[in-house]
């Protein structure tokens, strides 16, 4: 492997695949390096695929991509110990093609994407771990892999190596992740007959349901739970800030086990066969935690660049879009015959700043901080709204005005009127 490439892409997740595909399709000589036995074998996600980002790269992906179910119903649950209060949005319009989002199984989806990358002309090498970057002064000129004689060189290296971003860290491009900037999520996949899933979730054909959950299930930690329907399986998971796990002394698998046992969740999983347990870190530091994403001979895309919108549960789409913009930046500079220096690659950051990626990241830049400092959203409120619903729905001879007074009193005693107003203000400011 002493060949020289136009570009090396490290990693074969959504960011790496999109970058490699886009550059190969434009005729660049691309090498993609993946440490798993095949592309997808190291990758973990919930997983929801947002069609839009993929459509912009592979418009006809629906023809052969392995998709599980298209989402027609979203439930939001606030859970207390033995109850939940929820909202549901379901629309038959979500069943009008082209569908907007799908559940996917990443090992299958990424494998499909990888074939597209190969078909576009990139050389994809699996079972190869990149150990570090080859530098010439401050410029990245290639990578060193764990293969014998495994150094390989290129004009640019795109780092799409995921949330841990070890390569940029080793090269000193950025520091270690802080425990409060990442969430640890654990997840299981439970197999059930297709018919059971359809009956249990009131769906047919390829329709699917998403349940997002918050409240007591995270034991006061900042985090959420989820349940997604696949064709013949459901995935259930929970994620919380790593700094909270560290403080709480709660182990992630115990948290998941207890969540699965909740009276509202257990019946949805009943009779299923658990076939895999996974864990993954999600970069949730937001806009203020985005590291330097370009330099002499290198770019960062996807999770490695902290590109996750935690509020809207978006990540893989940001990975694809940053991968695409990174690739287009390289293609443009190459076409213009310009060197891939930090100065010229700065247009990558500029293009992202002008796109929905940074605009969304910026819009929610204070959210991680606010949630971290306001635990009442995860403990007191779920409990209060649950008690309020319980009070109003219990017919016991007490008049409704008295019940309303009792609820108001309950809220004010737990959180004070000033606290309630200030919480409302904080949320309004954060989301406005």
């Amino acid at each position: 492997m002493t060949e020289h490439f136009d570009a090396i892409v490290v990693g074969a997740g959504p960011a790496g695949n999109t970058a490699a595909y886009t550059m190969a399709k434009a005729g660049l000589k691309v090498l993609q390096i993946e440490r798993g036995e095949y592309s997808g074998s190291k990758n973990v996600q919930g997983a929801i695929l947002y069609a839009d980002a993929l459509e912009k790269v592979i418009p006809d992906f629906r023809e052969d991509a392995p998709l599980e179910r298209h989402i027609i119903e979203q439930r939001m649950w606030i859970l207390d110990d033995t109850s939940y209060l929820g909202g549901t949005y379901r629309s038959a319009d979500f069943s009008n093609p082209p569908y907007n989002r799908y559940t996917i199984i990443r090992s299958q989806f990424d494998r499909w994407f990888s074939q597209k990358v190969r078909d576009a002309g990139a050389l994809v090498i699996c079972e190869t771990t990149v150990l570090d970057l080859h530098m010439d002064g401050t410029r990245v000129v290639g990578v060193r892999t764990d293969r014998e004689g495994g150094s390989v060189y290129a004009d640019i290296v795109i780092l799409a190596d995921g949330v841990n971003s070890l390569l940029a860290k080793k090269a000193g491009f950025h520091g270690e992740l802080k425990p409060r900037d990442v969430a640890l999520a654990v997840k299981e996949i439970h197999f059930l007959p297709e018919q059971t899933i359809e009956e249990r979730f009131n769906i047919k054909g390829t329709e699917g349901v998403v349940i997002e959950m918050a409240g007591k299930i995270t034991k006061g930690m900042v985090g959420t739970g989820f349940l997604y329907t696949n064709k013949e399986s459901v995935t259930i998971g929970v994620g919380c800030l790593l700094s909270d796990f560290k403080k709480s002394g709660v182990s992630p698998y115990t948290l998941l086990e207890e969540m699965k046992a909740h009276s509202a969740i257990q019946p949805l999983l009943a009779g299923g066969e658990m076939k895999e347990y996974t864990a993954h870190l999600i970069p949730e530091g937001g806009y203020n935690a985005i590291p330097q994403i370009y330099g002499d001979g290198w770019l960062i895309a996807g999770d490695a660049g902290m590109f996750v919108n935690a509020v809207h549960r978006e990540g893989s789409n940001l990975a694809m879009t940053t991968g695409q913009v990174a690739a287009e930046t390289v293609i443009t500079l190459k076409t213009e015959g310009k060197p891939l220096t930090a100065k010229n690659l700065a247009v990558y950051r500029k293009a992202l700043d002008e796109s929905f990626v940074m605009k969304d990241m910026k819009k929610y830049k204070n959210i991680p901080h606010i949630l971290d400092n306001n635990r009442q959203f995860f403990v007191a409120y779920p409990n209060l709204v649950s008690q309020a619903a319980h009070t109003m729905l219990t017919v016991d001879g007490i008049d409704k005005k008295a019940k309303e007074r009792a609820i108001r009193k309950n809220f004010a005693s737990r959180r004070s009127v000033f606290g309630l107003l200030s919480d409302a203000f904080k949320l309004w400011r954060a989301f406005e």
Partner: protein, 95 residues
């Protein structure tokens, strides 16, 4: 409640025998300086355990390669963390 071993039993691994990809750099730091030993409860695969003598032991066979142990050891920086050699480690069936 299911034990972590039962969960991991469902997973597919290709263990790189003799090449642990994560190491505790200095066992004395865990035993003497680290009070909470967060790795012993934060690791989602339960790879870390505290022995009766207060020392932390690490067996990486069930590792899910998430990175948690490295990041939570932010006070002592006592975890040497690399990805497994190419092709080794966890092989997700579904991911």
């Amino acid at each position: 409640m299911k034990r972590i071993e039962e969960k991991l039993f469902q997973n597919r691994y290709r263990v790189d025998t003799g090449h642990a990809h994560i190491e505790i750099m200095n066992a004395d730091i865990c035993a003497v300086e680290c009070e909470d030993k967060a790795c012993t409860f934060c690791c989602p695969a339960g790879c870390y355990a505290e022995d009766p003598g207060g020392r932390v032991t690490l067996i990486t066979d069930g590792c899910l390669e998430c990175g948690t142990c490295r990041i939570i050891c932010n006070e002592h920086l006592n975890v040497q963390w690399e990805y497994p050699r190419g092709g080794y480690g966890i092989l997700f069936k579904f991911g």
